[in-house]
């Protein structure tokens, strides 16, 4: 039963163009990363060395928003059209349908995100060559925690998008919620009076990624409060809470 429904959900994702558009926009990260590296590379050629941000970190929000949109649309495209009723007639067990949807969104966004992140990483290092750009002095092994944490953050945002889209039953509300979690709330947290800015910011979704990798939040906020394991747990907690609440509503509400 579960396997059949997962196959169906995967086909649902593969058979609409919005999926390819969202992944296409996410993959722009590779292009932007290459352009960025080329640009800072020419600056480094003039000055000898430079401290530039890593493209896989700088353009991460693009990846996060575009693939989170995939999560939102996975459910709201059905809720808005009434397709969800057609789906529930063929799969009356709501837990199975919801789990299959979440599983497919989770797997596709994680696979897509890690692929795009690694490609961005590889092309930018290749373009950088032996120039000193600030971000290309560490080994892949040292950068891998950050890359995987970034990939996981994309998946969590997509699942949060799925959950919020399901709870609000609206594409617009789902997207606004994701954008709030990603940009608005962390923005507000930064401008709280210290030490509350760092304390609150430590729990903000985008700031969990550097904490998992053991880096500082930003020059302004300094080190976060959370050790890597706690940051990882908090990240997963975001997805678990929104999915849990969404499933509760999905199971109880009339379709």
């Amino acid at each position: 039963m579960m396997r059949a429904v997962v196959a169906s959900e995967l086909l649902k994702l593969r058979s609409v163009t919005t999926t390819y558009r969202a992944i296409g926009v996410a993959a722009l990260m590779v292009v932007l990363g290459a352009v960025w590296t080329f640009y800072v590379g020419t600056m480094a050629d003039e000055r000898g060395s430079i401290r530039a941000a890593a493209p896989e970190q700088g353009f991460l929000p693009l990846l996060q928003t575009s693939l989170a949109l995939l999560g939102v649309l996975a459910i709201t495209s059905e809720l808005a059209t009434g397709m969800v009723r057609t789906s529930l007639v063929v799969v009356p067990r709501r837990g199975v349908l919801f789990a299959a949807k979440a599983g497919v969104v989770g797997a596709v966004t994680f696979g897509g995100a890690v692929t795009i992140l690694l490609t961005t990483y590889a092309t930018s290092r290749l373009i950088a060559g032996d120039r000193l750009l600030g971000f290309n002095q560490s080994s892949l092994a040292a950068d891998l925690p950050m890359l995987l944490a970034s990939g996981l953050s994309v998946t969590v945002l997509a699942l949060v998008g799925l959950g919020l889209g399901c709870a609000t039953r609206s594409t617009a509300a789902g997207i606004v919620s994701v954008v709030s979690l990603l940009f608005v709330l962390p923005g507000i947290a930064t401008y709280l009076p210290p030490p509350w800015n760092t304390r609150v910011a430590s729990f903000m979704l985008p700031n969990l990624v550097p904490q998992i990798a053991g880096d500082q939040l930003s020059r302004r906020l300094g080190d976060g409060l959370l050790p890597p394991w706690a940051a990882l747990a908090t990240l997963i907690f975001y997805a678990a809470v929104t999915l849990g609440a969404a499933f509760y509503l999905f199971k109880r509400r009339d379709a």
Binding site: A4, A7, S8, S77, T81, T86, P92
Partner: protein, 254 residues
């Protein structure tokens, strides 16, 4: 052909859709009120009632889409939610527009078929059967209502189920399509399947259905054969008008 109208024993054995004191309340509105009837195989059962009478709600309750406030609906003696592969037992068309417009007809059906382990060959078969084979790869968003009705019927037929429910499938169809649906409904029933069909077209219903269930304001108004109604009221339309006279209410969606 087994006719369940003939005696109670066969009702027990052959009634495949059963409603027992089904009640659904949305806030202050009683959409379905203490509704009990059963639908037997071998003929088309027409489901009639004014807009807002609770026909669509009743169908949603049978399919487990809405939870009843009280009472129960059974399909083949079991709640719909407990069916492991529901498409193989029940096919339903509730709303032809409840599709993702960006998906092709073929992929739409394949998405549904996959959930119940039904293969692509069957998808091609039903597309052929409903006359959509030529537009199978076209996006559903560009379909007319009539084409969407055909697509919905194709979805209902995918699992070759013994029980079929159609909510106003004739809407939006051209005369050719109307006749096609009539013939399809009759042939499905003649194969011994159970067919519950709702429609507002009385002349069409008189040609297609053998038994009629009429509801109004969520309550059962009448349950009779078309022959009985016509002998008493002259035409089915007159019967419907007379029986639902006190039940027409506007401003409530069905």
């Amino acid at each position: 052909m087994v006719r369940c109208a003939e005696g109670p024993p066969c009702r027990i054995f052959f009634s495949v859709i059963e409603l027992h004191h089904l009640t659904k309340r949305y806030g202050d509105t009683l959409a379905v009120h203490d509704l009990s009837f059963s639908v037997a195989p071998g003929h088309v059962t027409g489901f009639l009632g004014p807009n807002g009478a609770g026909k669509s709600t009743t169908m949603r309750l049978i399919l487990g889409l809405d939870a009843p406030t009280s009472g129960k609906a059974l399909v083949n003696g079991r709640p719909y939610m407990s069916l492991a592969r529901p498409m193989r037992e029940v096919g339903a068309l509730l709303d032809a527009n409840a599709v993702h417009g960006g998906r092709s007809a073929y992929n739409h059906l394949l998405c549904l078929a996959r959930t119940n382990d039904i293969g692509p060959r069957r998808v091609a078969q039903v597309l052929e059967q409903v006359g959509l084979a030529g537009v199978a790869r076209k996006r559903v968003g560009g379909f007319s209502l009539g084409m969407k009705q055909r697509l919905g019927i194709a979805a209902a037929l995918l699992g070759d189920p013994r029980v079929l429910m159609f909510d106003e499938p004739v809407n939006g169809l051209d005369p050719d399509g109307v006749r096609w649906i009539r013939d399809l409904m009759c042939s499905l029933a003649a194969e011994g399947r159970t067919v519950l069909l709702s429609s507002h077209l009385m002349s069409e219903m008189a040609l297609t259905a053998e038994r009629i269930v009429i509801v109004g304001r969520g309550r059962l108004i009448a349950e009779a054969t078309v022959a009985e109604l016509i002998s008493r009221y002259h035409t089915l339309e007159d019967a419907y008008m007379a029986l639902t006279a006190g039940s027409v209410q506007f401003g409530v969606s069905s």
